[in-house]
């Protein structure tokens, strides 16, 4: 919240972090991705991160367009490859803050293997996953997060596959910070994003968001307001909840909160420690590509 400067129209506080010449953006009316970006810009504003040292990387998808709208050094990679690109960036420039911002399909279907290994290695990056339970960009196909019985273009009789529980998956792989919010929880989401951005190591936030055009409509769930009402009525905040208990079913209760916050040495810390152990002072600790 900014104060109104006297005698002039104030500007929206998020404008300084967005490429305003590209707004209006391509997202449909009421798309939850926009609200998540709004929260992200406000979270960035609350950190001391030097924007010249910040990189935002996306894959392909509706959420993948985020890289094109943030007014910082950003890269729109190929489908599923945001994490490998970001891994290279984080290792070459350990002083930088690397954020991966992408969809559930991009990060957990085609890009799933990259994600689990980045978490295992504790690469220093923040991953923001907008989970809208579908492939938005390509017209609403089933994804590894589509709940049982939900309809998609590829599951006209309802999905029969089991789904990933994203917080549990990333915790098992070794993420140091894991949270889930919906886009109804704007203030808590901003706070959590700020915390993730200030965390060293692999941090992960699942942002449950509405896709009114495809997921909501195909499942006859109403418009974006109805999605937000559902998030409001059926979410409970349970910080520290065991992630094994936070799986989602179709239109079920949603457990949100900060589930994991336990630091451990990063990939780079472990590399330097091991090499120093073996080589002693013959080893020059790695501090990035200068």
């Amino acid at each position: 919240m900014s104060d109104a400067p006297t005698n002039s129209t104030p500007t929206n506080p998020v404008e300084k972090l967005l490429r305003m010449e590209r707004i209006p953006h391509i997202w449909c009316p009421g798309c939850g991705v926009g609200t998540s970006v709004n929260c992200f810009a406000r979270a960035l504003d609350k950190t001391d991160i030097d924007y010249d040292n910040l990189h935002v990387v996306s894959g392909i998808g509706c959420t993948g367009r985020v890289a094109g709208y943030v007014n910082v050094d950003s890269f729109h990679t190929t489908h599923g490859r945001a994490i490998p690109f970001a891994t290279g960036l984080a290792i070459a420039r350990p002083e930088a803050k690397v954020v991966v911002y992408s969809g559930d399909g991009d990060l957990f279907a085609i890009g799933g293997n990259h994600l689990i290994h980045a978490a295992r290695r504790n690469i220093d990056m923040t991953v923001i996953c907008v989970n809208n339970f579908t492939y938005g960009m390509t017209g609403g196909q089933v994804t590894p997060t589509t709940p049982y019985s939900a309809k998609a273009t590829t599951t006209p009789y309802g999905n029969f596959e089991d789904t990933f529980n994203l917080p549990n998956l990333v915790e098992s792989c070794g993420a140091v910070y894991v949270a889930r919010w919906t886009v109804y929880h704007v203030r808590k989401l901003i706070k959590s994003m700020t915390k993730a951005l200030n965390t060293k190591g692999f941090s992960f936030i699942e942002v449950i968001a509405q896709c009114p055009t495809l997921y909501q409509r195909r499942n006859k769930l109403g418009d974006g307001v109805m999605a937000l009402q559902y998030y409001k009525e059926r979410s409970t905040v349970q910080n520290g909840a065991p992630t094994v208990d936070v799986g989602l079913d179709y239109q079920s209760d949603i457990i949100v909160g900060e589930f994991v916050d336990k630091p451990r040495p990063t990939f780079m810390d472990k590399y330097n420690t091991r090499m120093t152990e073996i080589l002693g002072n013959k080893f020059v600790p790695y501090e990035g590509v200068k």
């Binding site: 919240m1 109104a4 609200t35 307001v225």
Partner: protein, 99 residues
């Protein structure tokens, strides 16, 4: 069902003789960015906004400020807006020169 003939008095308008108390905040709308989702209207805690009858150039229905005196500048509208088309600010207190 029989309707009350009396208009609802839930939101009394300040009479002209009395000066209305200054609003604590103000919402600013960029109409050409708006896509008419109505989140700001639904999630404003003090019912400052309503969907009006006007459209923008692209044909989206626009929200309008209908109860400006109720705005407290909480910026809830701004946080929910997927299109960065609205935000709320707290007005600076004029009288005792500070917050």
């Amino acid at each position: 069902m029989e309707q009350d003939s009396e208009p609802s008095n839930d939101n009394p308008k300040p009479s002209k003789s009395e000066k209305p108390p200054a609003a604590k905040g103000q919402a600013f709308i960029d109409e050409e960015r708006c896509k008419g989702c109505s989140y700001c209207v639904v999630f404003c805690p003090t019912e400052v906004l309503a969907m009006g009858g006007r459209l923008n150039r692209k044909g989206y229905h626009l929200p309008e400020v209908v109860n400006p005196e109720k705005c407290n500048g909480c910026d809830m509208c701004g946080l929910f807006c997927p299109d960065f088309a609205i935000f709320g600010v707290r007005n600076k207190k004029k009288k005792d020169g500070g917050e």
